[in-house]
């Protein structure tokens, strides 16, 4: 294995001396590929990997193979290239770096068809299902170290890395280093190792899938995310858990990330078409669902709780999430509040509110969020209001406001820090007893399906 032969295409190949058993300790280990093309291209090894893949329980229709070689292998490849270039030069032939087949490429050429055959699925570079094999060769770990002396800037320590000698860093240094310097420090051809590479890990993972929908919230006692202080849960459950727990189970995912287009307080109901949400399911084991199965999943979620209801549940792409947060066709929010007044009121006392259009209000950061937001004054516009008299101390108020308006503070005035407010406009002390928000958010990428299976409670008349 000390000699290298070349064929007419400039392909690097290694000649073996006839022994075939990979378990034979007398086998001479290749000084370039460190045994990878010797032991780890055989059907036996592929079968072992595939057994692990099948045992992992993932559902997949294609896969991408990701292979990780020890960094010192790049150094040996570099040495081999220099040697071949030299030989070619003697024959007045020039050889570029790209004329050489990379070891990783060769490995994949050999193993891809073997994996395909064993697992019965094609290899696809764009597949979300990844099988990764990591090799290591502890014996030659120090092969790379000489590079640090010559190109120290390539090997800066970073927080996450265990060793500075990553494949990226080594490749960078090899591109920089001059041939003479390299040859001075590293034997060309390289020394023969005693043992072949070891397999550090064989892992499978599936890229995240995304499920989107719209939710209505009918409880006045439910936070959007779990409410936990000092390890103690303050309120039972949450919107995200009531929806995501079912998805987590069905998709057999490791974890989830819940996001929505805005959110509401614990004690506020969400009516209308519902608030758009998207859930990223991390490392799902099951990913293929028919639209019927998704419908059944939505029904299951809706049957399990009357605090929330979900509609338009659908699988979406990652790009759809961006659209949910920003670009929208039409987004309107109407609020409905039940207001209490300290002074007795008559119908005529609230009529003037119906006529106010585009009222400008100044809101200092509400005291209830001041601990986590900067202190500032925000100008907001109340576009229109509609009143409905209930009794001497109560009336219902519907409002259409600019995004980001604190409704509760507009009603009670927040110690006079929101001006004007309902109390100041009516010259009474006012308080808000109930609040509902009606969200009607139409997103092109997220169609609205029929209303039939969901209960829509409209507080408005």
């Amino acid at each position: 294995m000390d000699s290298l032969s070349q064929n007419g295409e400039g392909k690097l190949s290694v000649t073996e001396d006839g022994s075939s058993s990979s378990k034979n300790s007398n086998l001479n280990v290749c000084n370039v590929c460190l045994g990878i093309l010797q032991d780890f291209c055989e059907k036996e090894f592929i079968k072992k990997v595939c057994q692990k893949v099948e045992a992992s329980g993932f559902e997949f229709t294609n896969l991408v193979l990701s292979v990780s070689f020890p960094p010192q292998l790049s150094v040996r490849e570099h040495a081999a290239w220099l040697l071949v270039k030299q030989e070619m030069g003697k024959q007045s032939l020039s050889l570029g770096r790209n004329d050489i087949v990379q070891l990783k490429e060769a490995y994949k050429w050999i193993t891809h068809p073997l994996f395909s055959e064993e697992l019965g699925v094609p290899i696809d570079g764009k597949s979300l299902f990844e099988v990764s094999v990591v090799f290591a060769h502890p014996e030659t770990v120090e092969d790379c170290h000489f590079l640090r002396a010559i190109c120290p800037e390539c090997f800066k320590p970073a927080k996450n890395k265990q060793s500075v000698f990553t494949r990226m860093a080594v490749m960078k240094a090899l591109n920089k280093i001059k041939e003479e310097d390299f040859r001075k420090q590293f034997p060309c051809p390289p020394d023969s190792p005693k043992a072949v590479c070891t397999v550090l890990e064989i892992e499978c993972a599936h890229g995240a899938v995304f499920v989107a929908g719209r939710y209505n919230k009918y409880s006045r006692n439910l936070p959007q995310t779990p409410w936990i202080i000092d390890g103690e849960r303050k309120l039972e459950s949450s919107v995200e858990e009531l929806i995501s727990d079912h998805l987590l189970k069905v998709f057999k995912a490791e974890s989830f990330n819940f996001s929505s287009s805005g959110r509401e307080d614990v004690d506020v109901r969400t009516l209308g078409n519902g608030r758009p949400f998207a859930i990223e399911l991390v490392n799902p084991h099951r990913v293929h669902f028919t639209s019927q199965e998704i419908k059944e999943l939505q029904q299951k979620i809706n049957n399990s709780s009357n605090k929330i209801q979900v509609r338009d549940l659908q699988l979406v792409t990652r790009e759809a999430i961006g659209h949910m947060k920003e670009g929208e066709e039409e987004k309107t929010k109407t609020y409905s509040a039940l207001i209490w007044t300290n002074k007795a009121i008559q119908r005529k006392d609230i009529e003037f509110l119906d006529d106010i259009k585009d009222l400008k209000i100044d809101q200092k950061t509400p005291l209830r969020v001041l601990h986590r937001r900067p202190l500032a004054v925000r100008t907001r516009i109340i576009h229109s209001m509609e009143t409905r008299y209930v009794d001497e101390h109560h009336f219902r108020l519907s409002l259409k406001t600019q995004a980001g308006t604190y409704i509760k503070e507009f009603v009670h005035g927040d110690f006079g820090r929101t001006k004007p407010n309902i109390g100041s406009l009516m010259e009474v002390t006012a308080d808000i007893l109930e609040l509902d928000v009606e969200v009607n958010h139409f997103i092109v990428e997220m169609p609205v399906y029929t209303l039939s299976s969901t209960k829509i409670m409209l507080l408005k008349h």
Binding site: Y218, S219, R220, N221, D267, N306, L338, W340, T341, N342, K343, A344, K364, L367, R368, V369, L370, H371, R372, R373, P374, L375, V390, D391, H393, H394, R396, H412, G413, F415, G416, T429, D431, L433, E434, M457
Partner: protein
Amino acid sequence: MVGVGRRSLRETEELRACAHRVSRATSRKDDLLLGPPEEVSRSRRAGFAALDVAMTTEPEDPVAPLAAEPAVPSLVDRYFTRWYKADVKGKPSEDHCILQHSNRICVITLAGSHPVLQSGKTIKSISYQISTNCSRLQNKVSGKFKRGAQFLTELAPLCKIYCSDGEEYTISSCVRGRLMEVNENILHKPSILQEKPSTEGYIAVVLPKFEESRSITEGLLTQKEYEEVVLKRLKATTATSQGARTEVE
């Protein structure tokens, strides 16, 4: 008899406490699912009926503010805990009330027993210039972490209140922390301080250090303890005046 024809502080406190207790008893449970609006007002009225019973003990006095107390706890009662400091800086009856929000922010206000809130007192002006170099109005905070705020100790002065009878009162912080803001509304209209001392008439907003958010209340009185202090004070005054009368007789 003390306070004939005019409700004494003690009686006011008792009635307020009574209304408070009634409002707690009738306050709605958390989950208000569905339900037409009529149901809501019916339960409110039930609460009011109970209050009416309490009111009948003082028929001749106008009860307009108390009769309208909501069956659901007020804004202050819902989010804040009331803490008190009596006789601040040793000055008799200069009681302060600190409203501590569940998110640890404190609103400094005057307690009902403070001389400025007694009937007959007129405020001439309020000033936030507490020394030649320091005005609370100059306080500027920036960012989420409220950098640049003036740091206050318990005895730090917040403002000075000048009354038409020549009396001058200094309001102190009572809690350690960063000054968020002082109430500029009472500068322009000092009467707000007397009309709504617990809400629109607040003095300042202070943000205690996160580590100290529990310990700041250690030196303060609870609502109950404060009421006892006021009661004791009242008994002492009554005793003195009765003693004086006996002497005269």
